[in-house]
């Protein structure tokens, strides 16, 4: 497998690196009102250089970058210590769904505002009684003149405390479980929406509950066919579990930080674990680059998800063990890493997917 870069990609890499070096600065936590707006400004700055969505078509604010160039961008981004992406749920989850199932009208209306950070999106899938068993969701969308009325409750909705809009699955009937669901977009500031922030284990409201009481959604905000929401949503699930949301750059950057940390706090008892974690990040990187040579099937995203989420926990736990109680610079990352094996489908669900859909084991 040849991982060498062509001249165009090298030039792109150099541009990204020098731009980031000149512009990256620390921001407040995106899970505070102030920090959220700082992160939105950062998205605007990225977008002004057409660096917020490099792989998208230029009409929507991108650069038509190849998958390889996108991976290079991500490596540079994370290595530079640049801020987390407040727009990531929109960019990495909703946008691929719109590219696959949306109309031209939806794409040209929604994507540029997403790319510029003017509209930040939250995911509204889980419900109190529908977590791993997402198909048991009960929130409804009822037909009305010119659109739909949403009723029900969504939860664990990342960024929803401060975001502008949300995408979710609603029961439009008839049929049970995977049938009769529709993928809808709604405004978090619409009449009838109540957002109740939930403090996460770091003390900040990284996600929220959303209560919907006859919230109007116009017909133009239905994505895909009415009743086809499960299929539409699962295309997003593959993105969330797989490569796009968790590019290897994030983990190779964390592994490099871990190595630096070890140099400052050399503890022979932890030496092998540091190298193991570093190897894990390298293996994940090589595995994702392998996808360039040989595209993988949908369920293969579950392999990736199990790997990166457990690697992330291991990287952070090793850092914590090196640092002892205080763990400056690693605490938030560690707390966040704990959610990795849970969100985007718990790793137990991923293992079921691998076992049943890849290995063909009986249900």
């Amino acid at each position: 497998m040849d991982l060498s870069l062509d001249a165009e990609t090298l030039e792109f890499q150099a541009e990204v690196r020098s731009w980031l070096a000149a512009h990256v600065r620390p921001l407040s936590s995106m899970d505070t009102e102030h920090g959220f707006e700082e992160h939105r400004s950062w998205e605007r700055l990225l977008a002004s250089e057409r660096l917020s969505v490099v792989s998208w078509p230029s009409t929507y604010g991108g650069r038509e970058a190849s998958l390889l160039q996108w991976l290079v961008f991500e490596e540079e981004y994370h290595a530079s210590g640049a801020p987390g992406r407040v727009s990531q749920n929109g960019i990495f989850l909703l946008a691929p769904t719109l590219f696959a199932f949306g109309s031209d009208e939806q794409r040209s209306r929604i994507l540029p505002a997403m790319a510029s950070g003017d509209e930040v999106w939250a995911q509204a899938w889980s419900e109190p009684e529908a977590g791993s068993d997402l198909a048991s969701l009960r929130s409804t969308a009822v037909r009305c003149d010119g659109g739909w009325l949403l009723r029900g409750q969504k939860t664990w909705s990342s960024r929803a405390a401060f975001a502008d809009r949300a995408f979710g699955l609603f029961r439009t009937g008839p049929g049970e479980r995977h049938r009769g669901l529709t993928y809808l977009l709604f405004d978090l500031r619409s009449e009838g929406v109540t957002v109740r922030p939930i403090d996460q284990l770091d003390g900040e409201p990284g996600f929220a509950e959303i209560f919907l009481d006859d919230v109007f959604v116009p017909d133009r905000d239905v994505v895909g066919e009415v009743g086809d929401g499960w299929r539409v949503a699962m295309s997003t699930a593959g993105n969330e579990r797989g490569l796009t949301l968790r590019s290897p750059g994030r983990f190779t950057a964390a592994a490099s930080r871990l190595v630096e940390l070890y140099r400052k706090n050399p503890d022979p008892a932890l030496r092998d674990r540091v190298v193991d974690a570093w190897i894990g990040a390298q293996a994940y990187r090589l595995h994702t680059f392998g996808a360039l040579a040989q595209p993988r099937s949908g369920p293969a995203a579950s392999v990736t998800k199990v790997f990166w989420s457990e690697l992330d926990v291991a990287l952070h736990e090793t850092a914590l063990d090196l640092l002892g109680e205080v763990a400056p610079g690693w605490r938030d990352g560690w707390l966040f890493s704990l959610s990795g094996p849970i969100y985007a489908g718990t790793n137990e669900i991923q293992r079921n997917v691998i076992a049943e859909r890849i290995l063909g084991l009986p249900r």
């Binding site: 060498s4 490596e75 290595a79 092998d272 190298v275 680059f289 790997f307 290995l359 063909g360 084991l361």
Partner: protein, 341 residues
């Protein structure tokens, strides 16, 4: 894989399906099936250029054959002859290549005596764990700077059986009689580790397949045991290991990535083979079942060319102790990336 590579894989797989009998091969005096080896040479699995009488196979083609041999655990001189051929090619010695490589391409077994930690070694001591060392007609050795052809007159060699009966290893007592062929290339170690990793991936993939097949047919409590989530998740984890190990093996081209592949693929195969035993239950504790062959291969391969600990220590020295952070697994990719924050 290209269509040609897929065809090569199918050809080797069908050859091994039809002709490889591992249990019979390990009972023969030399420990491998000479007919299967001759056919592998005919197919052109060895990485020997056409101008030296070879097939012109590249690294990828040889690794495809090694992966297939790994799947079936077929004993074969391919690994030893591949490493010896690449060491010889790396000297740039035309005369020696002209003289030796056509013979190797025709099936003459060749091997390399080398210190796996890449330290210096002497040409007149005792070398242990030499692949096919008692059978090889061409024996090359390195003292860490040059590559030598060993004069076998006066050299004593004995087969040293290890836990893995499917791998032929020997102890060789060298006398010092050797001819310098040219410079030793440190890259030969990377080549060897990558070739071994390809073989390990094959064994791990097949061990998982056999386990999945078994769990679909073995019925307990009125259901195939593969329908139980406790077992499904273990097999899902095995699959994650096999797929990531395959990526590591494919990417193993330089010093760091080859060491990563050695550590990662050794641990992956060992874990998968150990799980194969557990998931098969009692039948895997029998001699008759092949699970123990995979487990023993896993153990032997883990130790071959240096244990994971040896390579971890090497990586740690590169990765943790240098002033500069390590180059990631492909140098070209991350050239000049700043790591300071």
């Amino acid at each position: 894989m290209t269509p040609e590579q897929l065809a090569l894989r199918d050809t080797v797989r069908s050859l091994l399906d039809k002709h490889s009998d591992v249990r019979a091969a390990i009972e023969t005096p030399h420990g491998y099936d000479k007919d299967v080896w001759a056919r592998l040479c005919d197919i052109g699995a060895l990485p020997i250029p056409e101008r030296y009488g070879g097939s012109g196979a590249g690294r990828a083609e040889t690794h495809i054959a090694l992966e297939e041999l790994g799947r079936t655990l077929t004993p074969s001189p391919l690994l030893a002859s591949t490493i010896a051929s690449r060491a010889l090619l790396a000297t740039g010695n035309e005369e020696a290549c002209d003289r030796l490589l056509p013979r190797i391409a025709d099936g003459t077994v060749a091997t390399l005596v080398w210190p796996w930690d890449n330290g210096r070694s002497s040409l007149d001591g005792t070398a242990r764990y030499v692949l096919d060392g008692d059978l090889a007609e061409i024996v090359l050795a390195t003292d860490g700077t040059g590559l030598y052809e060993i004069d076998l007159a006066g050299v004593t060699r004995e087969h040293t059986p290890t836990m893995d009966q499917t791998r032929r290893l020997a102890t060789i007592h060298l006398t010092g009689a050797a001819t310098l062929l040219g410079p030793w290339s440190r890259h030969v170690r990377d080549i060897a580790l990558a070739a071994l990793a390809a073989e390990q991936v094959g064994a791990a993939a097949r061990a998982l397949e056999l386990t999945v097949e078994y769990s679909k047919t073995r019925v307990q409590f009125g259901k195939p045991i593969g329908s139980f989530q406790a077992l499904k998740h273990r097999m899902a984890d095995m699959h994650v290991l096999v797929e990531t190990a395959r990526s590591a093996a494919l990417a193993a081209t330089d010093e760091v990535s080859a060491a990563v592949a050695k550590v990662y693929c050794s641990e992956a195969l060992f874990k998968v083979a150990a799980e194969m035993v557990q998931l098969h239950g009692g039948i895997a504790i029998t001699w008759e079942h092949d699970a123990h062959l995979y487990l023993k291969r896993a153990h032997g391969s883990t130790q071959l060319f240096g244990s994971p600990q040896v390579h971890l220590a090497r990586l740690a020295a590169t990765c943790l102790d240098r002033d500069q952070p390590p180059e990631p697994a492909s140098r070209k990719m991350r050239r000049n990336v700043g790591h300071s924050r």
